[in-house]
Amino acid sequence: MRVCDLMHKGVISCYPDDTVKDVARMMENNHFRSVVVVNERGEVWGLITYREMIRHYGENLDVLKAGRIMKPYRIEIDPQWPIEKAIEVMQRLKYYHLIVVDPHVGTKWPVGMLTSFDVVRYMAKLETGHYEPMLKIRDEKKE
């Protein structure tokens, strides 16, 4: 099993100048738990997850910029890595959202996201695949 088999393809991204209010709306509308902050060239710059967001509950979100609250993000995950290697990175760095970047182009363009819940889903399916039909129905609905 490789990272690209489990990850979400595509990411939700914003620019450092976007307001936190917009980021909150993006998360809410897309049901995503994390938003990737990219610079003007589309490279990975930082990450905003629920943890960064809740600290600013009650503040004026229209003046707060995404670049101020984001967590800088420097690691690169290759989509071809075995899943165990990615989990090791999660365990070691305590990063539970990994941004997967395209290794073939020079710039760090995000191609997908691997979260802790994707790994849990993988672990739950290990045994018999008993819940597999249920998951498939849900995936079809999503599309």
Binding site: V20, K21, A24, R25, M27, E28, N29, R33, Y50, R51, M53, I54, R55, H56, Y57, G58, E59, N60, L61, D62, I87, M90, Q91, Y96, T115, S116, F117, V119, V120, R121, M123, A124, K125, L126, E127, Y131, M134, L135
Partner: protein, 136 residues
């Protein structure tokens, strides 16, 4: 007006036993589409909370032999009551780096789970706030 946990919490929670294996917990999470599982003992008292993140930390161990009680951390037993001010609850969540806070009954003798405060509900509230309303 000060907001309290009561206004944003969800009633009810997905729970499991202290003896539930890691594999079962993973399946409970996937089937219910949640990223947490509250751990309770036989007296329905809360013992802690297992999140998707704490399952990652336990990856590599035997899924069937590892029990819920083995992967509970001290920070996973942070709780609040329905009357706790929201600001206080959020501080506790960010200090302990958790996204779900268990809400228990407001009686010293009872530690039954009433519900849960999720970071996602806080974000939804932040997204819906109108301008000018942002500074309570």
């Amino acid at each position: 007006m000060e907001e309290h946990v009561r206004q944003l919490m969800r009633r009810g929670a997905i729970t499991c036993n202290e003896e539930t294996s890691l594999r079962d917990i993973a399946q409970i999470m996937v089937v219910n589409q949640v990223r947490y599982c509250a751990v309770i003992n036989s007296n329905h008292e809360v013992r802690g909370l297992v999140s998707a993140d704490s399952i990652i930390d336990a990856f590599g161990r035997d899924l069937d032999l590892t029990r819920a009680k083995d992967i509970l951390h001290s920070h996973s037993i942070v709780t609040a009551t329905a009357g706790t001010p929201l600001r206080e609850a959020i501080t506790a969540m960010s200090k302990n780096k958790i996204e779900h806070l268990i809400v228990i009954a407001d009686q010293p003798e009872s530690k039954a789970v009433l519900g849960l405060l999720c970071a996602g509900d806080l974000i939804a509230r932040m997204a819906k706030r109108e301008e000018g309303e942002a500074n309570p």
